[in-house]
Amino acid sequence: MTDFYQTGVITTLHQLGKPSLERLESELHGFAKVRPIALVLPALYSEFEGPAMPGIIKELAKVSYLNEIVLALDNASESDFQRVREMMAPIPTEVRIIHNKGKRITEVYETLARNGLDVGIQGKGRSAWLSYGYVLARGRSDVIALHDCDIVTYNRELLARLCYPIANPNLDYVFCKGFYSRVTNKMNGRVTRLLVTPLVRSLQQLVGPHKFLAFLDSFRYPLSGEFCMTTDLARVNRIPWDWGLEVGSLAEVHRNYSPRRVCQVDIATTYEHKHQILSPDDASKGLMKMAVDICKSVFRTLASEGVIFSDGLFKSLLVTYLRQAEDTLMKYEADAMINGLDFDRHEEAKAVETFTRSIAMAAQVFEENPMSTPLIPNWNRVIAAIPDIFEMLEAAVEEDSK
């Protein structure tokens, strides 16, 4: 991204020129003394066997400003867990691994369930949430950064740029979202390009100017899995455990803080990770499931802010969305042409069809049960219910790491 345009109500931090990572890291070193930084990594064991995680570890081995790294490991057996520990050893930062399938962490989840706290099913959302809890329990860090573990083009500059706005005490931001262009020989990031942006703009058209929609529309990449925040925010924010994680988190940020204290930062020139398959027929899998969850999350947030969703509104929404999406498609086609990228119009149109169906499905689910929420309670609420939960969580991770 080479322009310096400020989008919408939040601050956009661009990558201008070719800033030195050396300088960035040395500044972060200074900031970290005042505001220690924790890195949360929600990971699947399979990511350690693929090319992504070894590359990430190699880069993290050179990062020295972090205070702690919390790795929430899913889908790992006991021997996998040991192997992951070995693989993480080169990293100079203290690494704590939350072994989600381990018997101690399972017990933590069961304790929560016994006390009527629904933390949802296994997934990135739940992993991230528990990791925040652990960071809060230890109380050693003021800043939490999080990124996915399936990035195959990982560069530690990404982490430095992500942490910088929050770690720098001279900047008063509490939440920072990463953005980047997802371009290889074609444009990726279909859900953002063809669902979220057109949906948000259609809703703006239908319900008129709305603060949350304007907020959401300000993000260049609302679905990026990379963000950074203060621990205070992590304490009060609720996060969804489903695919609505990113949008739902943004909704919570919008609810708790002024947009002035939110920014987005250009973190990478190239970014590549594993892609979700399009599953036009199965609503419980792949892109379709993701799309449905995202739409539900948007509807729920708007409803909670007083927007009235009627049957007619949903019907209009489908039509408006389709028009918006088709227009968007044409914009991207032109964009692809001038940049010499492959553009499969048929594939893209098929994606739009799938997304249209997702919106309809999300609308139906929402109308049937508007109260159902995949939000995990925030940590303040959890502590009120189980005052000793932090000690228990800390002890569980401590024991596991022995």
Binding site: K18, S20, L21, E22, G55, E59, A89, P90, I91, P92
Partner: protein, 419 residues
């Protein structure tokens, strides 16, 4: 297995000598026009500073065709009175013999060690045969710390131009210092003093069929001495002026020889260096002085071109070795103008550590791996020259000190990634 010393005529010669207190070795190969001066300086030094001790000069030759050995035989100081107060009792014995084994400085040294062992020498010194600036004092400075100070190994200190010895200054010295914790400033100086016990210890090592015999002997001797806990010191010898090296040996070859030897030693002594933190100063003998800096001819623009061409062509290899983050930094350097070009020391430290790790993990064939570092090294050297252009000797030295501290501070990265 003994080598050259097995030959009957050498054996006879050695038997005639019987025992010696001091051995001075001069390895040579086609150095007929310089070795005469070196032999005379050594003779002078031995006569002047150790008149009462029995000394032998050993020229270990690699099969020179220009009559190097004859020159050694015929060189002697005509008028000892010019440098001596009193005459020496017995003449200094000279042995000139061709060594056997793999051609290289290491094999030459092996023969010298063997003779030192047979003659039961107390102290030894080795000096290069192409030295122009050697004086009799060098012998005193290399031998005395062993005889009187109880040191096992004496490494040289030179007065050099601030731009000279860049492989030493930017790779070998900082790395050796950070690894083994001893601040030996010229680990590959080429002129060393060592005790008889040290020479015998060297002979116990089974390295004479490896690259050590060919070209890695200097760093091998220094590292072996430090890593095995021998008492090490340094002596200030003054300026080192020697004949220009063979212009045919190109820079990447030089880099390959020096760096691969240094990295190979890391494998052997991994258990020793992993536990070392920080570094200790090594005492130094001799009177240190500085002289003016002559103008030196360097073309940094051409060096930077080499760096940028390397970046263009070797990006895949570098990306693989350095990882995305540091490669991005190197790439950023490629966009800088000549005037503002600056290779950060932190980045350079990680480059060297990453190459050491790649060597350890056998990511590429050794020669490819280390030669692919050449443009990076050239870039770093150009950056140092640009930075130190207006600096005095001590300021330039302070920059090297900073680099060393960076190597020491980042050592954890190397240790934790070495598996």
């Amino acid at each position: 297995m003994k080598t050259a010393t097995f030959r009957s005529e050498v054996k006879e010669q050695l038997e005639r000598i019987g025992q010696a207190d001091i051995i001075v070795g001069i390895p040579s190969y086609n150095s007929a026009h310089t070795i005469g001066h070196v032999v005379r300086a050594v003779q002078g030094g031995l006569a002047k500073y150790f008149p009462d001790l029995k000394a032998v000069i050993v020229n270990s030759d690699g099969g020179s065709s220009d009559g190097t050995m004859e020159v050694v035989h015929n060189s002697s100081i005509d008028d000892f009175n010019a440098i001596l107060l009193h005459h020496r009792v017995e003449p200094i014995a000279k042995i000139a013999l061709p060594y056997s084994g793999i051609p290289g400085k290491g094999s030459a040294f092996r023969t010298i060690f063997e003779i030192a062992e047979i003659l039961d020498a107390k102290a030894c010194a080795v000096v290069d045969s192409d030295l122009r600036s050697i004086t009799p004092e060098w012998i005193e400075l290399l031998i005395k710390p062993v005889l009187l100070g109880g040191y096992d190994y004496v490494s040289p200190l030179y007065h050099r131009h601030k731009f000279d010895g860049t492989i030493t200054n930017s790779i070998v010295y900082p790395l050796t210092r950070a690894l083994y914790g001893k601040r030996v400033r010229q680990p590959i100086g080429g002129d060393f003093g060592f005790s008889g016990a040290m020479a015998q210890y060297y002979l116990t090592k089974d390295v004479w069929e490896s690259d050590v015999a060919r070209f890695g002997i200097d760093i091998w001797m220094t590292t072996t001495a430090i890593a095995n806990g021998f008492k090490v010191t340094q002596s200030f010898l003054g300026a080192k002026i020697h004949d220009a090296k063979d212009p045919g040996t190109d820079l990447s070859n030089m880099l390959y020889q020096v760096v691969s030897s240094t990295f190979a030693l890391m494998e052997n002594y991994a258990d020793n260096w992993k536990s070392v933190h920080g570094s200790d100063p090594v005492p130094a003998f001799g009177f240190e002085y500085t002289v003016g800096l002559e103008q030196i001819n360097v073309n940094t623009a051409r060096m930077l071109t080499t760096f940028r061409e390397g970046l263009r062509n070797l990006r895949e290899i570098w990306l693989e070795i350095l990882g995305a983050g540091d490669f991005g930094e190197v790439e950023r350097l490629g966009t800088q103008d000549d005037a503002e070009f600056h290779f950060p020391i932190g980045l350079w430290t990680r480059v060297i550590y990453d190459y050491a790790l790649a060597f350890h993990n056998k990511k590429l064939p050794v020669e490819h791996l280390i030669k692919s570092m050449t443009p990076l090294y050239v870039g770093k050297t150009a950056s140092f020259i640009l930075q130190a252009r207006d600096m005095g000797q001590s300021e330039a030295e302070a920059e090297i000190e900073k680099l060393c501290m960076e190597f020491e501070n980042n050592k954890d990265y190397l240790v934790s990634n070495w598996k």
